[in-house]
Symmetry: C2
Subunit: 217 residues, 2 copies
């Protein structure tokens, strides 16, 4: 896999979608697919798909299409899905509980190793097979288990201090549900932000643009 | 506000961030800011910010910067945040409960009018001030209250049939947490997808790229 680092993040962001669709095809027993068919199912152009996959050397053969299983496996390798990184989660309120209980991290290359919360009413309870630890135990836990990733399911005001402590503990990657923009303050960490309110505002704009609310506004 | 429809979705997706940052500045009592200062705080270039805001006619004066409050208000108007659209949510499990309880929709231009779930154990319970209704009541409810948006906090297998019913009821916009790619099947609706697993896979790739797992993999 040559020149991976030249691949733009917008291409990378499409890979999980390819991965998902290829999984659907595999379940249906489809073993081979052309970029044209794949594009129709995914709402992209065939040339977009060929371009994207060419970034990684290209896996198709002209006229023969892609082997569904091996393309999916290649994408898994590119994304690193087969090498789970030890992960902790801070915050096990409703959102945190949903995240910890309902997402299959192992399929995404993460292995949960511990859940933390600052709420004494939650500490000691079991969620997704883990006993929730007090966030005061973070440092001891990290020294022992070396988590590399933290899922932050806490409010913005708690996030700032927590991130500092986590970075001091050697955590270098964050899945951030808070509105604290940590990437601005730490340039040696990687972050994926889930800004639900931003997403919602973008939806609101599109509703207006589409004229859906014409009658009611 | 001329030529709004020519604005690309990637510009639109940055507006909520501007909106958030301007809110932070306002809280701090800052009334005026230059594109340079704004860019430093947001990790964008000053010319990017000027370009983005020029799409809507531009609100700054050369050499004087932007008026924080009026710029924020203009962005609110562009996004439609001041005209809440009636909204229902389907699915009040952990994720749905977090969404319904902890997000301030009214600030994003949505007004929750009803919560639904198919689980008899949840129907009748109160979440965020709403008594959860059985999803069998959707049609009657929609005929009466005309919700325009639905938040879908249900698994993929439930989403397909639900979307069909909701579209039949006149719902034309969706905030979709399921992995059902409804935009492929309905071209007259607007959709914002929250694909948490895709997000997570993108994070996994970046961890690998940054060499964070070098020692452990």
């Amino acid at each position: 896999m040559a020149s991976k680092s030249a691949v733009s993040l917008s291409v990378i962001r499409r890979l999980p979608r390819y991965y998902r669709y290829l999984g659907v095809l595999k379940k249906k027993g489809i073993t081979r697919i052309s970029s044209r068919e794949l594009s129709e199912r995914m709402g992209l152009t065939a040339s977009q798909i060929r371009q994207d996959l060419n970034c990684f050397g290209g896996f198709g053969q002209q006229g023969y299409g892609y082997n569904v299983e091996s393309l999916q496996e290649e994408i898994a390798n590119i994304l690193g899905l087969r090498n789970p990184v030890p992960t902790i989660q801070i915050g096990v309120g409703n959102l945190g509980k949903a995240i910890a209980s309902h997402l299959d991290f192992s399929r995404s290359g993460f292995e949960m190793v511990g859940l933390f919360d600052s709420n004494p009413a939650l500490v000691g309870k079991t969620v997704a097979g883990f006993e929730i630890l007090a966030d005061g135990e973070l440092e001891t836990f990290c020294a022992k288990h070396h988590p590399q990733t933290a899922f932050l399911c806490v409010p913005e005001k708690a996030a700032k201090e927590l991130v500092k402590r986590l970075v001091d503990c050697g955590v270098r990657s964050f899945w951030n549900f808070s509105s604290y923009d940590l990437a601005l303050y730490y340039d040696h960490v990687v972050v994926e932000n889930v800004h639900l309110m931003d997403n919602l505002m973008t939806l609101r704009y599109q509703i207006q643009e589409a004229g859906i609310t014409e009658e009611s506004v």
